[in-house]
Symmetry: C2
Subunit: 373 residues, 2 copies
């Protein structure tokens, strides 16, 4: 294999593909980029077995040459070293050549690197079939779906299914749900066509794809075994997470006798300040609401006490008090992406809801905690 | 003690003073700001016993009120919590009031914090006398002196004196030297007046003062026991480091039969690329110089080899080769702050010199390493 390629175009693809490549791997071949130069394109693949990213570079894009000259073939090249070398070279064009099957020579006019390489036969077979139910999203819609749900997924591997976003399609209606069992975020999104599936997609995959897509539309192709995201000339393949996602509808109360509407920034700033003194109690803050007064407080025997009053709010209900983890409410309000938020309470020890006025597509549920004073 | 103060002005002072306050301390009082409100100013002090910073805020600066109203007194307030609270409050003015000697109440119109506080009597006595030989620097000169020397000091506590910058005054001539015993950076600087001293100032103190001074002149007042830096209304007190600084003049060769002049960026970029493949050998790169060719290389049995050629350079001397740690040469060239650098070699296993053309004030010495191939 030999090819001379636009350095910055190659660098961009390597940065994308390297996202799937880990720092360590029980399979050493997975620490490499796989290069496959065919008669009309170069495919570069990276994988950690859970996630695989493949980008395909054509010889030309419009009138611009991407690959100047080439001899077909394939090789593995250490991702860590190749990425650094391509980043630090100064030439506009770089030549990559395989010598004796086991050396990858990377050069421009000034520089000349010879990297010891593994044989391409050592790369594991990957399932890169693309088949299944295909749903298409605008880039901004997909990014928003992920921003509004991913934070609520679990970061702990104890219950793997909670590290996924549950994606359910029922006709044109799609539902994305993430929960770490203490709070939940659910996003509704309408798509074209008729779809029928339910899968658990690793939150890491969803987040990486959301970062990658830029302004392209993105296709999500769901089968029983895996999901494939496609945008531009890049495909991201990911395993699904097995197991039953919790029946989250049970977590959502039916009626809310206490409803507070308040400015998102006003409320977040106030609970953020009060939570400063609650660090030894897991950032638990207490809210007391009456028709006339919205008061937020925290108390620690060791450190001291904090108290905030908000005067600009709307409230329907009896006097009510509740305590919660500041981080959960802060993240929920952020995800609501709205100037005002509505907090709807069912009882002092019952999960409460965070929503945005005039936006039916996003619902968040948070479990309160017992108040200690 | 009670005072109402301009919040952002207070925040700036707390940020400055907190630099001297650690995260942990065997003396719990040192985790506090000490507030002392007198009839005409507020002094705020932070210390970790090695370094103490005190800033004094007047009641007014020009026509602008800084402190609106006050009752004299003093108190200790937790630095960690006060800094966060003052940062997150929204009001322009904040009131700090001591209640029953042991509670500090911090409030603005909306927020109200009560912090449990230590008694001011628990704060250790500090030596805040300012006496000794006083040298004055322009802010930019002081920053440059630190930038050009501090990086060469040791970060290891094995030989404490090497974690200092050695500061020698001999009449109008001052000499700042830092070395970790593998490389050395020496900066000459001419000042006004006649001074005569030699002290070892912790590199941490020098670096923090360089960051703090902004555009003010800074005074350095040196006594046997300590050094005090003063700018604006802030004083930084620091212990000195005992012990004899190495006689660095012995490390500097007398004559250099091999002299290379090369573009600083060209050389740094080339050695930076080549060092990529030398990570398992402590970033050791080899340079071979003849009148016609400047070649830089590295080699690793495991990873591979790298080779760079530079065509634009000037060289006087026989064919010469030497190996060195990339980081040392990279940092030395950076500190030279010059478009071109001059590398002067005395022999393959002898320390070499990095200087800038037309700048006699900065000299750097680097120990080479044995080449393995």
């Amino acid at each position: 294999m030999k090819l001379t390629i636009d350095r910055l175009r190659l660098l961009k693809v390597l940065n994308t593909v390297s996202i799937a490549i880990g720092q360590k791997s029980p399979t050493p071949a997975f620490l490499n980029f796989k290069f496959e130069m065919n008669s009309d394109s170069l495919a570069i693949t990276g994988s950690n077995s859970d996630m695989t990213i493949q980008s395909v570079l054509p010889l030309k894009e419009g009138d611009n040459d991407i690959i100047l000259s080439f001899i077909p073939g394939s090789t593995l090249i250490s991702s860590k070293f190749l990425l650094e070398i391509i980043r630090k070279l100064e030439g506009n064009w770089v030549t990559i050549e395989v010598i004796d099957d086991v050396i990858a020579k990377i050069s421009d006019e000034k520089s000349d690197f010879k990297l010891n390489s593994m044989r391409v036969e050592d790369y594991p077979d990957l399932d890169l079939d693309v088949e299944g139910d295909c749903v298409e999203f605008k880039a901004d819609d997909f990014k928003k779906i992920v921003t509004q749900t991913a934070f609520a997924a679990s970061t702990k591997e104890v219950r793997p299914v909670l590290t996924a976003i549950n994606v359910k399609a029922d006709g044109e209606q799609m539902e994305f749900t993430a929960t770490d069992s203490f709070r939940l975020s659910k996003k509704l999104h309408r798509v074209e066509g008729h779809h029928e599936f339910e899968v658990n997609i690793p939150v890491k995959t969803m987040s990486e794809v959301a970062k990658l897509v830029e302004n392209n539309n993105v296709k999500m192709i769901v089968s029983d075994r895996k999901v494939v995201f496609q945008y531009d000339t890049t495909s991201v393949y990911s395993r699904l997470i097995n197991g039953d996602f919790p029946k989250t509808s049970r977590m959502i109360p039916d009626s809310y006798p206490y409803v507070l509407q308040v400015g998102a920034d006003t409320f977040r700033n106030a609970i953020s300040r009060v939570s400063l003194l609650a660090i030894e109690r897991e950032n638990i803050v207490k809210v007391v609401i009456t028709r006339d007064e919205l008061e937020i407080s925290s108390k620690s025997d060791q450190i001291g006490s904090a108290n905030e009053k908000i005067s600009d709010f709307r409230y329907a209900g009896e006097r009510f008090e509740i305590s919660f983890n500041y981080n959960y409410v802060n993240e929920a309000i952020g995800a609501a992406q709205s100037d005002d938020v509505i907090l709807s309470f069912a009882g002092e020890m019952t999960a409460f809801r965070v929503t945005a006025p005039n936006d039916e597509t996003i619902v968040q549920i948070i479990t309160p905690v017992r108040s200690y004073y």
